[in-house]
């Protein structure tokens, strides 16, 4: 099933993390198998697009990768594991390993400027450097005039750009994005995609979850297709486009699709509630 994308490493890109291996990864929530025996390897650089319909288990896959959730069985190795999972600081460079951007941006109840400064302070960036760094990050997100606006008063698109800028400011080794453009207009979508491309150029591994096949085509180096908790295909963009026609002739049973959608969404909520409780 696993077909490695045949792609020369980008010359500009500096490889910063190792490939990540999923071996027989299973996630059960309340006895229901929502991720079923995933085996795949994600390369250390490039943009991996995780594609699939709603409720396929894409978000769960991302949470497993980030360490926000633990697999019921199987193992996730390599990648950034040696330095610890999500956002553990790289001992040498002081940069976090993985950063996560959620579908609904989580904004602190402060100004846009302070939202970014918060992360810098958490990473112990020297006080006199913070203002310049935040201004630069706001400019990349095209929010330079919105710095002093309370973040929660920004529009949805602006909030998502701010969330992405806040994540990228610490220059993570890997950037995990959960449908970041799902509810954005074309302009914000294109700014967000530009920001992701820039991060890719800097050598950051990108893992982007989406159900938008056009976006996948625009951005992907390789595509991981997940359905009903299983990886159905992992191919380079070109190979994926070729097989897409064939897969179209095997329509997904609507009943199975609906059932799974309800199950995964429900379980995701239960999982979050459980993790809150513990």
């Amino acid at each position: 099933m696993l077909e490695q994308p045949n792609r020369a490493p980008k010359s500009a890109a500096k490889r910063r993390c190792k490939p990540m291996h999923f071996e027989n990864v299973v996630l059960k929530i309340n006895g229901i198998e929502l991720i079923q025996h995933i085996n795949c390897t994600l390369q250390a650089t490039g943009k991996t697009i995780v594609l699939g319909p709603n409720g396929a288990g894409k978000s769960l896959f991302l949470r497993l990768m980030s360490g926000l959730m633990e697999p019921t069985s199987g193992s996730i190795t390599g990648g950034l594991e040696e330095q610890g999972s999500l956002a553990h600081l790289d001992q040498l460079s002081g940069t976090p390993c993985m950063s996560l951007v959620f579908q609904n941006p989580v904004m602190l109840r402060r100004t846009a400027f302070e939202n970014i400064a918060f992360v810098l302070r958490h990473h112990r960036v020297a006080r006199h450097e913070i203002a310049a760094k935040v201004d630069a990050a706001l400019a990349i997100a095209r929010l330079q005039t919105r710095g002093q606006v309370p973040a929660r008063r920004l529009s949805g698109g602006e909030q998502q750009r701010l969330a992405l800028a806040r994540t990228l400011i610490v220059n993570p080794h890997a950037l995990l994005l959960d449908e970041p453009t799902a509810s954005l207009d074309p302009l914000s979508t294109s700014i967000v995609e530009d920001m992701i491309e820039q991060a890719d150029q800097m050598g950051t591994k990108i893992v982007l979850v989406t159900h938008d096949i056009k976006q996948a085509k625009r951005m992907a180096d390789d595509i991981l297709f997940i359905h009903l908790g299983e990886v159905l295909a992992h191919k380079s963009k070109r190979a994926f486009s070729k097989t897409r026609e064939a897969s179209r002739r095997r329509p997904i049973s609507m009943a199975a699709y609906q059932r799974n959608k309800v199950l995964t969404k429900g379980a995701l909520k239960i999982g979050q509630a459980n993790s809150n409780r513990n």
Binding site: H88, L108, R109, P150, R153, Q272
Partner: protein
């Protein structure tokens, strides 16, 4: 009826003429209750945040306990503090009984559970929203706690004001541990109770009017804080 209107007239005269005795009572009331609220907030906010951030056995039981203690009867608190501070009690040597300090202690005991339980409610809602974000940043429990307190600042101010409202209007606890001694531990509520039973309605009425004005001011501030929060932060 004549007595009644006369009482009102004298009451307004007292208010208007800045009667020294009246305002010393008001001053002591505010001093005691504001001190108690400040101490309760310092304790209660941290307790509320700790109950939100830390996961430990007995956490839920504590939450339920604090919620139950919100409705603690003031006289019972007064009795307990009295027993602790009285000559034969464990803290009797300090000689605090019938002093303003004893009244501050009693009010602190009374409203700390209220502040803790209400701030836990405010912060738990926030924590749910921020949990994954905080975890993705690998924030330490201490950083989480202080960040949550700052993010919940508007809600917590409202909680503090609710605590103040309960403290300034309670009579049972301060009556028992303060003793309602003239010029020493007499505050608005205890004075109203005493003057009414003595039949000197004018002073009681004047104090009652001030008490109502204070409670109106507190409620207005709550409304202002809420609308400010809506405008600036939550919109």
């Amino acid at each position: 009826m004549g007595d009644f209107t006369q009482a009102f007239q004298i009451a307004f005269d007292l208010l208007w003429s800045m009667d020294k005795e009246l305002y010393s009572i008001v001053y002591l009331s505010l001093k005691v209750s504001i001190s108690a609220v400040l101490i309760s907030c310092a304790l209660g906010f941290v307790i509320g945040a700790a109950l939100t951030v830390f996961r430990f056995p007995g956490r839920r039981a504590l939450l339920i306990l604090f919620n139950a203690l919100m409705g603690l009867p003031p006289v019972v608190v007064g009795l307990m503090v009295y027993m602790v501070l009285s000559r034969s009690g464990p803290l009797g040597v300090l000689g605090l009984l019938y002093t303003p300090t004893a009244m501050i202690i009693a009010q602190t005991v009374l409203i700390t559970p209220l502040v803790a339980a209400l701030s836990a409610q405010v912060l738990q809602e926030l924590h749910q929203e921020y949990d994954e974000f905080f975890r993705s940043l690998q924030l330490s429990a201490r950083d989480k706690l202080f960040t949550l307190l700052w993010e919940g600042r508007f809600g917590l101010v409202t909680v503090g004001l609710a605590g103040f409202g309960r403290a300034i209007s309670e009579v049972g606890a301060v009556m028992i541990v303060g003793g309602n001694i003239n010029h020493l531990t007499r505050i608005m509520t205890t004075a109203i109770a005493l003057e009414t039973s003595k039949g000197t309605l004018a002073l009681a009425l004047a104090l009652g009017i001030i008490l109502i004005v204070i409670s109106l001011l507190v409620n207005t501030s709550v409304a202002l804080v809420r609308s400010k929060a809506k405008e600036v932060i939550y919109a």
